[in-house]
Assembly symmetry: C2
Homo-oligomer: 218 residues x 2
Amino acid sequence: MTQSPRGPECSGCPCGLAALASGSSCPFGAVARDKGDVLFREGDLAERVWFVRRGTVMLERFTSASGGARVHAVRRTGSFVGLEALVRRGYLDTARTAEPTLVCGASKAVVDHWLGDRHTPARVALEQVLLTEAVEQPRSGGPDGPAPRRVARWILKESLEGEGLLLPRRHVASLLNMVPETFSRALAQLVERGAIEASRTRLHIKDIQALRAAADPL
Amino acid sequence: MTQSPRGPECSGCPCGLAALASGSSCPFGAVARDKGDVLFREGDLAERVWFVRRGTVMLERFTSASGGARVHAVRRTGSFVGLEALVRRGYLDTARTAEPTLVCGASKAVVDHWLGDRHTPARVALEQVLLTEAVEQPRSGGPDGPAPRRVARWILKESLEGEGLLLPRRHVASLLNMVPETFSRALAQLVERGAIEASRTRLHIKDIQALRAAADPL
DNA sequence: CGGCAATTTGAACATTTTCAATACGGGTGG
DNA sequence: CCACCCGTATTGAAAATGTTCAAATTGCCG
């Protein structure tokens, strides 16, 4: 936890440069982390934003299936980590260093202030992008459970937000990383279980209990 | 291509609000698009940024495998589309409306000006996030080709950027959506083909030609 | 009402996961 | 410096899952 002075070291960092250009000082304090250290955990109250000064950080997320956490992204030198703190209450991922890494951290409040007026176009755009990212599930593929489960999860998720609108099935299948045939079969299976009703063009949740059961591995 | 006046309609839009708050006017002009219309195509010169005012836009990307384009994300009301224009020369995806959609567009130059000073912290953060997003490959799963191919692509990609550093294999496997066993077998197969050399802890490209061949479906 | 394209279904085939057992490799303590 | 240990990576064989290809069905739209 070594707080480093914001000197010339920051002149190679976009944050430091921005701070310089805007006349403010960089709000981030540098900290050295060992391999395997955890910056924050998925679900924790998002209170701090990090910037990878030099090194590598892995982003892990629990998948309802297969119990364990899966790393779904890595962030290298020059990336922010935990920016979701700006738009969410909790962290989306667990961040763990993959090697000895120098990270700069700052509290949410400080970063908030550093970013300036909340209605600035740049800031609006930033938060918009972060929100979009937050909604996206991490890429889910094979090991995230069999097709019917992924489909069940997708229906659940859709019914919450956007709802109503249904893309052509072919595209939905694509989103879920499967061929249309597999998607079709998965739907058929969910219908069989009584979880949903499905015509060729419409989709309706019949028994949300059953649907949840199909979505969760338990 | 109906240019709508920036009146009360924009009062529900974060862009409009930002413009209002910052005393500027919103640089975006509203356009109605029919279902299936294409906003821009993957690889096209990224000259325009869009905002989804109301509706749905699908983002498709070609996968070297399986020939066709796969939709890998959808953007709904209130999302930017094509923001990569700010940090790249070409579009990353093809954007196609999934229903009749009202989008607001503006040229890169205009947006650039709208976002203000390029060294503003908020803007630095924004571009940083966009860059990170640009590097990430869309989620790749089953239909993107067999495991050895995905592994070959990953090695190719890694050798370009970060290089050197190798996460524990278990994590790499996770990134590629496969169990460690499959990853291991895929590596073994690439070794067999003479594309790479691999000890349990190191990895070395032996024949980049062969590796490329393994990565591409051709 | 007819034609077209998307979806569904079926059966064979390919790939991946699983589970279990083995082989490494690095780190530790002598 | 070497032997021992432990966790990670590899390998094998069987089972589950997904893909492919082809054909039949359905719904939409003109």
